[in-house]
C-alpha cells in the first residue's frame, strides 16, 4: 500500500508562517487527487492543529500520513499541555493567553472545529506534558 509522510516544524507564536504546513498538506492532497470534500476537511483540521501549536505551545511539529484510504494528521508539541481535555473540547472555551485572544485568535473553536472535520480524534495531553493530537479522516 503506497503511503506518504510529510512533516513540518511549527514555531511558537510564528503567526507569519501560521498555516504554512496546512497549506502544503492541502496542496499535496490536491495534486494527489483526493476528493475536494476530503481535502477541505483535512486542510481545516491541519490548520486548526497547526494554529494550536503556534498559540498554545513552545513549538512542535505537524505531520501527515497519507494513504489511499485515510489521511492521518498528527500535531505534536512541547507545551503546558491541556489540563482538562473535555473542557477544551467545548465550543468557546479557551485557555489562550489574553494577549493572544486580543489578537483575534484562541476563540476556543480550534478543537471543536477539528472534531467536526475528523472521523477519529485522539488527544493525549496533561498539565506540563505537551500535547499530541491525532486526527484521522477516511477517504470513502
Amino acid at each position: 500500500m503506497p503511503s506518504l509522510k510529510l512533516s513540518f516544524p511549527v514555531r511558537a507564536r510564528d503567526f507569519l508562517a501560521g498555516g504554512h504546513g496546512a497549506a502544503r498538506i492541502r496542496q499535496v492532497l490536491q495534486q494527489v487527487g483526493f476528493p475536494p470534500e476530503i481535502i477541505r476537511r483535512a486542510a481545516i483540521a491541519a490548520y486548526e492543529a497547526e494554529m494550536n501549536i503556534i498559540i498554545h505551545s513552545y513549538g512542535g511539529e505537524l505531520k501527515a500520513h497519507i494513504t489511499p484510504g485515510a489521511i492521518t494528521i498528527t500535531a505534536v508539541d512541547d507545551g503546558p499541555g491541556i489540563p482538562d481535555i473535555e473542557l477544551a473540547m467545548q465550543e468557546g472555551y479557551s485557555t489562550a493567553p489574553r494577549e493572544i485572544q486580543e489578537m483575534g485568535f484562541g476563540a476556543g473553536m480550534g478543537l471543536p472545529n477539528i472534531r467536526r472535520c475528523a472521523d477519529e480524534l485522539e488527544i493525549k495531553s496533561g498539565a506540563g506534558q505537551g500535547t499530541t493530537v491525532n486526527i484521522i479522516i477516511y477517504n470513502r
Partner: protein, 439 residues
Amino acid sequence: MGYFHSVRLEEDKCKGCTNCIKHCPTEAIRVREGKARIIQERCIDCGECIRICPNHAKIAVGDDLTALAAYRYRIALPAPAVVSQFAGQAKLEHILGALKALGFDAIYEVALAAEMVARATRRYLDNYGGKRPLISPACPAVVGLIQVRFPSLVEQILPLVTPVDLAARLARLEGMKATGLPLEAVGTFFISPCPAKITAARQPQGKRVGPDGVIPLATVYGDILKGLSSALPYPSRAGATGYGWGHSGGENASIGGRRLLEVDGIHHVIEVLTRIEAGDFQDIEYIEAQACPGGCVGGALMVQNPYLAKLELRQLVRDLPSRSMDLPVTEKDLRAEPVYPRPALQLDDDLATAIEKMRRLEATQAMLPGLDCGSCGSPSCRALAEDIVQGEAQDTDCVFVLRERVRVLAEEVVELARKLPPSMARPERGDEDAPSGNR
C-alpha cells in the same frame, strides 16, 4: 475537440531564456532544447509570458480586420478598457467613430452589456444563500486559473453570462433587426485587451454564445489612432458605470453597496483564492478578480501604461451619465454555461499511483538545491522533481546535481589513477625516483 489557445510561441525569436517559466502562474511552460514549450492543458492564456518575454517571442493569435469579409453586417464590440488607450487624445464619440471607420457598420459597447450584468449580479446576490464569496466570471484568465489550480472553487463562480458574451448576443439581435439579414450574415467582433478573452471566445461550446471574432487591441491600435481626428463621431449609449468595468474596482462599483472585494494582478489573485480555499473571506459577498494589473486597462495586449490608462478612462467617463440599463433579456438568457474543473496538476488518475509518485516527488525535491534557478528549464526545484517523477526530465538536468555527480566521478577517476596493478611494486617513500623494482 482540442483546447484552443491564443498564446503561442514564435520559435525563431525564443532564445530559451527562462523568464517566462518563472512568471507563469500555472507552471505551464518548460524550456526544452533551447525553446519554451507551453503545456497546453495548463495554459490559461493570462498573457503573463507575453508581458515578460524580453524577446517578444510570445504572441497572442487573434483575428484581424480581414475576418470582417466573411459577414455582410459587421458590429464592433469594444471592451470598456479599449477606449482608455485613446483617452486624453479624443472624446469617447470620436474614439468609437475611429473604430467604426475600420470597416464596421455599427458598434455595440460592451460597457452597455456590463451595466446589465451588474444589475443582474446585484439581483443574484440579493437572493443568494450559498457558499461565499461568489467570484466574478468576467476575467477568463481568472476562471481558467480556478479551473486548473483551484478546482474546488469552480462552484463559487457567479453563474451569469459575461458582458462580452451578452454584448455579442444583443448586438447580433440588433443587427438582424436593423438589416433584416439572417443570423449568419451578422458578424460580431470583440476588440480585446487580452489573450484570455480570445481563448474564451474560441472554446468549443454547444452553441455559439460569444462573439464571432476577437481582434487584439494592439493590432488595430495604430489604425484607430490615425482616424481619431478625421472620423465621424459615433454616439455612445453606455454610462460611466459600464465603462468602469475597464479598470479594477469598476465592476464592484457598478454592483455597489455591499462587502465586495476587488483584487488585481494574477499573483495577488492566487493569494486571495488560496485564502478562500482555506475557508477564509466568508464574510465577503463577491470578489472582482482580474488577472492583469489595474484590471483590463493593464491587459497584455494593451499599449498604454495601465495606471495612466486607468486615469484617462476615469476622466473620459466623468461626463457620462451613470445610467443603468434596463434588461432587455430574460433571466434565462443571463445564465452562463457551467464551468468545470480542469485539474491539470494532478499527478495521476489513480490515487495509489499518485501517492507513490508524490512520495518520490518529495524525496526527489529534497535532493535538489532549492534555489529555484530555472536553469534546468523547469520553473522551480519542485516542478523539476515533478517532471522527473512524470518521466519528462532527469535529475542531472539540475546543474548542481550534475556538478556534484561530476565531482564524485572525478574523485573516483583520481582514486583509480593512483592505483597500480598488483604486478607492479610500490615506489618507496623518500626515494621516489628510484625504480623500486630493482631492489
